[in-house]
Amino acid sequence: MSTGQENIRKVEMYRYDPTEGGDGHFDTFDLQIKDESNTTILDVLIRIQKEQDATLAFRYACRVNMCGSCGMVINGREGLACKTNVSEFATNERITIRPLNHFPVIKDLVVDMDPFFKNYEECLPFFEPKEIVEEPAIIRPDSPERQAIGLATECIACGCCVSSCTMANYHEGYAGPAPLNRAFTLLNDSRDGLFTERMDRVLQSCYNCRTEFNCTEVCPKEISSTRAIKFIQRMAMKEPFRKIEEEKAAAEIENVEPATVIGKAEPVISMSNNGCVGCTHNQPDVGRRDFLTKMTLGIGAATALMVGGVMASAFVGPSMRKKETLWVPAGKMDDLQVGKVTTLNLNYTETIGIYKQDNVKPVMVWCQSNDKNIVVYDSRCTHLGCAVRWDKTQNSFLCACHGGKFALDGSVIAGPPPRPLDHMEYKIDNGNLLIAMVS
């Protein structure tokens, strides 16, 4: 039963007025509260707005912990205003309310959540069915996949975890806890077809977590993003091996010649189009490179420590990542038909440190006119990187994944791709076409 007692509370609140700009400041309000155990911080805000200062701005929608609009920092700790009661703070304590960290402030307690959603999108948080089926999949609730996912899908995107994570601040490009948590649930979902793409996206990010558990402590839905991130890290360790196997299998199916002859061009009529699942076979192997870089760095650092010079590793580090341009022969210019688009497969070997890897990458060449005026398009869709192919009948480039469609000049006609197809650099040497691969 309600047991709180009447009390006057001092509430300090961060204020920022966009029409004035500046750094913002704190205002103090006195509020008489009848029953503290029945009063949420959201009630406090609403009352101050009604009774004392109508210009106060904050955000809320559902008022029952379901929408994730009202995340803020209350007495130094992230939480939902509608889930935090005044009685949680000792009676003589001031209540301090400020907006979430790491998000631009629009006004007072209202922040711009776009950085959150941008990172969220970066991790491909959306389901992409492996295959179009009619009936919902039969998945037992006690199957390992569902056991692993558990209630982690209940994230309400409130941003509390990102605000509490110090790494989200110091590591530019770190996706942050909630986005990684979402990626984790999808990586475990056997119905989903974007495993490879998503893994590539989160691999870089998942090692930025420092096992602080701040995110776990503040999550109003009691989701442990740390657990999710650890899970991804464990999955990532298997990545290089899985990829090698997949590549072997793919090589067998597509019957690609073992690439002993580097850079043999073979015009193909129709490219095998295996949808989102298979489309990264043709891309440089981010997973393995990453793994190796980390390994080498790790060993390097250990050695350096042993000789007592940690500094040395700083010199080794950057040199491993140097970008190189490889000119891959793509065939004779005379083989190209004027006014047509020809798909060429580039076979080349990439060298990363001590590791060599054979790659096949399709590119599309549009020969505009007789005087060797050509455009070389990257076959990677600018949306999510699925393989794009030329469709003669529609006279456009089609991406099978989400219906991306590009015109002959590479511009987007339809679908989600945000920018035109990427061009690749080329040069013509003695009638031979050479295309630049940047690794």
């Binding site: 300090e12 961060y14 920022y16 966009p18 029409t19 700009g21 500046g22 750094d23 913002g24 400041h25 704190f26 920092v73 007495n75 130094g76 700790r77 992230e78 001031r94 301090t96 400020r98 907006p99 979430l100 960290n101 790491h102 998000f103 631009p104 402030v105 629009i106 922040v111 711009d112 950085p115 509490s164 110090t166 601040n169 420092r210 096992t211 602080e212 558990f213 701040n214 776990t216 402590e217 503040v218 442990s224 740390t226 657990r227 650890k230 899970f231 890290q233 464990r234 420590l305 007592g308 940690v310």
Partner: protein, 113 residues
């Protein structure tokens, strides 16, 4: 046209600037991480010193202490990384492992002295 065109957003707060009652998140997991980094630096400093100034008990003491913390906290992360201990027990792990480490440390110190 972008939305900020007409009004200025304030750049993100990083750690509660100007908050009169500012208190960082006092979560023990974060301090565990910080402490491990601090001891790492301590080891880097103490180890060469130890090679130069051999057999100085105070140095040995500090070095061993730093190593103990660093190792136990590192062990904690390894246990969590490989899911050998469930993440729910992360706090227990901190106290348990550092406690254990300190006991071992005390024993070792007592033995080598």
């Amino acid at each position: 046209m972008k939305q900020e065109d007409t009004i200025n957003y304030r750049k993100p707060l990083q750690w509660g600037e100007f908050d009169p009652n500012r208190r960082r998140n006092m979560f023990v997991g974060m301090w565990a991480w910080m402490w491990q980094r601090i001891t790492a630096v301590a080891i880097i400093v103490l180890l060469p010193l130890h090679i130069v100034l051999t057999y100085k008990p105070w140095l040995q003491f500090l070095l061993l202490l730093a190593v103990t913390f660093h190792a136990t906290l590192g062990l904690r992360v390894i246990l969590l990384d490989f899911d050998l201990v469930k993440v729910e027990y992360q706090k227990a792990l901190i106290w348990g492992l550092t406690g254990l480490g300190l006991v071992v440390f005390a024993l070792v110190w007592w033995l080598i002295r």
